[in-house]
Amino acid sequence: MKKILFLLLLNGLVSFAQEQKDTLVPKDLKEVIIIGKKAKIHEKQSKSLASIDEFLDKSSQVDLIKRGAYAWEPIINSMATERTLITIDGMRIFGACTDKMDPITSYVEVSNLSEATIHSGQQGSCFGSTIGGAIDLKRNQNQFGNQKWDFAVNSGFETNSRQKIIGSSVNYTDSLFYVDTDIMFRDADNYKAGNNKEVLFSQFKKLNFSGTSGFKFSQNKLIEASLIYDKATDVGYPALPMDVSLAEALITSLKYMVIPKSPLLKDWETKVYFNTITHRMDDTKRPSVPIHMDMPGWSETFGMYSKITGNKDNHHFLINLNSFYNKSVAEMTMYPENPDENSMFMYTWPDVRTFYTGLFAEDNWVFNCHSGLKMSFSLGSHTNDVASDFGLQSLQIFYPEMEAQKTRLLKSIGLNYNYNKNGLEYGFGTGYSERAPSVSEGYGFYLFNSSDRFDYIGNPNLRNEKSIETNVFFGYKKSKYNVKISSTFFRISDFIVGQPNDFFVPMTIGASGVKLYTTLDYATIFNVDITTEWKISKQFQWSGKIKYSRGQDSNKNNLPFISPVSYQTELKYRCQKLNAAIECIGNGAQTRFGSFYEEKSTAAFAILNFSAGYKFNWSGSILYTKIGVENIVNTYYTTYSDWNKIPRMGRNIFLNLGIRF
């Protein structure tokens, strides 16, 4: 067992799980959402078969932009995909949709995952450059052991969208070999909002298969192959003008791990990986579109990393060398009403090849059992190359001097101090990090944003975005209660944002204009959250959290998608095999909304949820039941992170069942 201290966040419950075997423990400040080992998946979660999006939504550091019932886009520290880094077991994967309909999290299934590790800001730079932070989705890690078969069947039903969930897993373990397989299928109809109105085009179907197999070929060497196949079809996006007919991903990797004999090194892990994503947008089912169009996209990534961890005296260090090569292509073909007219074709992503190689090093310097200093730095080379001549010439309409290739150097450095004694804990840190523009920001061609209704044109001449951040937290913990306040502040210079250009005529029919990606002087983002917990009695436990964010650009305009005051509070009851919880979630009114960025304000709301679970045991088999009601009073509401203010789900009763034998 590794001796680590995690800051756990579990259903709004903040607690420390400390293993007291070693007093010299590096205190890595990060948030870990435990999804649960596959075998235990049902034990702790109030809704065991929730989607990965719903799991992430419970974290105080992660919010999700919702364009429908499916494939929500994570935002960390109020920053979305471009400024964050999402990996699956350290693998870089890039969505193939120009409209961000397929965040990486949409290609995994909750039953594959054991935890999601969230690093705030620069501390997330282990697998590449980031400003806002990183989420690493960790898959189930089986252990070698006694020969054992393990079978499980999961199923669920949700009344609101008539979502049907069925899945199963088969695991085998012995002392030298293991294999884990897992399959899950979801099928949901349109959901109904709080006023019982059907939200059209919110249906989805998703099939996910995951397989991992490891082989220990010597006492300290392991090789592991893994595969994820995910296929979503008929996915509706009620907030967008188009749906998705197919989102398909194949994610493969081969890992080699050594536990070195040297006392200096703890483990050395090397992985090579490949993933390919196909994404097809579809507007054929929409009743009235100004023009019918096909918008397929493809993304392929080859990559590797080699990560080594070790200890020397009071230093716990980690070094990671990582590299990837990504190919992103997206097309648009539009079909005029007159069938004799030629179809209209363009590359919206002009076959952009991104090659990144970076080195990350971190040292956790533990002064004593109470305090430590974490230092980390990263250096990476990032090259973009436009491989399609057609695409390059298209962009040269806007940038006549543009060259196909551009190389950038990305740097980051961070320092974090922490202290913990007698229940009192505090820490502070500072960091500097840079990021390269995303493919859309650098090379996008007439990408329509249905929120501000502008066509966006990429800008290959953008400077790197640079962020200086500070963070601080303060907490007090006793056996019965604890409270913690933490805050992050970012000052991002050369902040990349689209700015309207009156000279250009939009391409999309009905668009308000064209925005070119440019850099603003700077923007500032501030986040603060307070979490607290109180163990009232052996059975009852109360927790609460409250959060606020603020974002402004250098022209004093509010940034869009910044959370107003939001809160969550929960009362839990646990008695042997029975557990139950009642939860209230709400937001204050969004008064500081990004009107300059065409954002509208969102009203305050509060909803009530209830869940209960019971575990039955008989003759070696276990049956879990989870039942719950979400949005009990059927409130009609929308949040600041709902794209185009689509309403959220109304009252929903769910039932999850799991059998393990």
């Binding site: 100004p290 023009i291 648009m332 539009m334 005029p336 009403e337 007159n338 007219e341 030629n342 179809s343 209209m344 074709f345 363009m346 057609f390 010439q393 298209s394 040269q396 309409i397 806007f398 006549p400 061609f445 007439y446 000279f503 250009f504 005529v505 939009p506 391409m507 029919i509 009905g510």
Partner: protein, 286 residues
Amino acid sequence: MKSLLKYTLAFFIMAATTMFTSCSSDDDTTTTTTDELSGITKFKEFSNDTHTIELYSKAGSLEQGFNEISIRIKDKSTGNYEKNAEVSWMPIMHMTMMNHSCPKSEVEKTTPNGTLYNGYIVFQMAQNTTEYWDLKVDYTIEGTAYTATSVIDVPASAKKKVSSFTGTDGVKYVVAYAEPTNPKVAVNDIALGVWKMQNMMDFPVVDGYKVKIDPRMPSMGNHSSPNNVDATQKTIGGLYEGKLSLTMTGYWKINLQLLNAAGDVLKGETITETVTESSLFVEIEF
């Protein structure tokens, strides 16, 4: 194993031979006559007593609008192509009530040592069942004048490539689209011609005017493109050259405005929310 070695050896010898022969062919001067015809196709052949006239174009045909045409003159008795002829041409439209010509260039030698002569003709109207074009080619070889005439096929173009109109100054003009023949999603070099009708037979080039360009896609809500450059003359008597940005494939209406040297608009309108097309335009589709 032995045979594998043999095949490998044979392959290398073959490769070496091919490389050697292909290198040496670069110096071969006899191939230049055939290179002359690369990219153009013969679409018409007619003759008088002494010579056969061959007409070539890129498309292998003519159509209403701007046409670049190459000519070869073959001596019937020797079968050789004449390299030192002075050539001129006269296209005539035979209408029911009258005859007229159209804008055309001088006929020049394509290369000093070659057999081709070339120029352009702008057919401002297409043939129909009763009205037709013919082409008279006059040429002089070593002081002797010859002539040959033939009817030529000028069908209507699928897209509008030429416009003849009376400007606000009362002058009759012809404006035609010449380049690009193969438009791309890129910034294209556009070439347009402007001529005026002096009389039924003379259509000289108009110098020093300007043609404003506004490409639009009517099927895409009149989407336009950035960084177009209005067409102006680089040389007196030449075509008007500008830049044409096309952001996607499909049907584009190139709205035009003809301005005289003083900047007065002679024909065409600025595109606005309410004025979605100009009365002077050409079309492309790719």
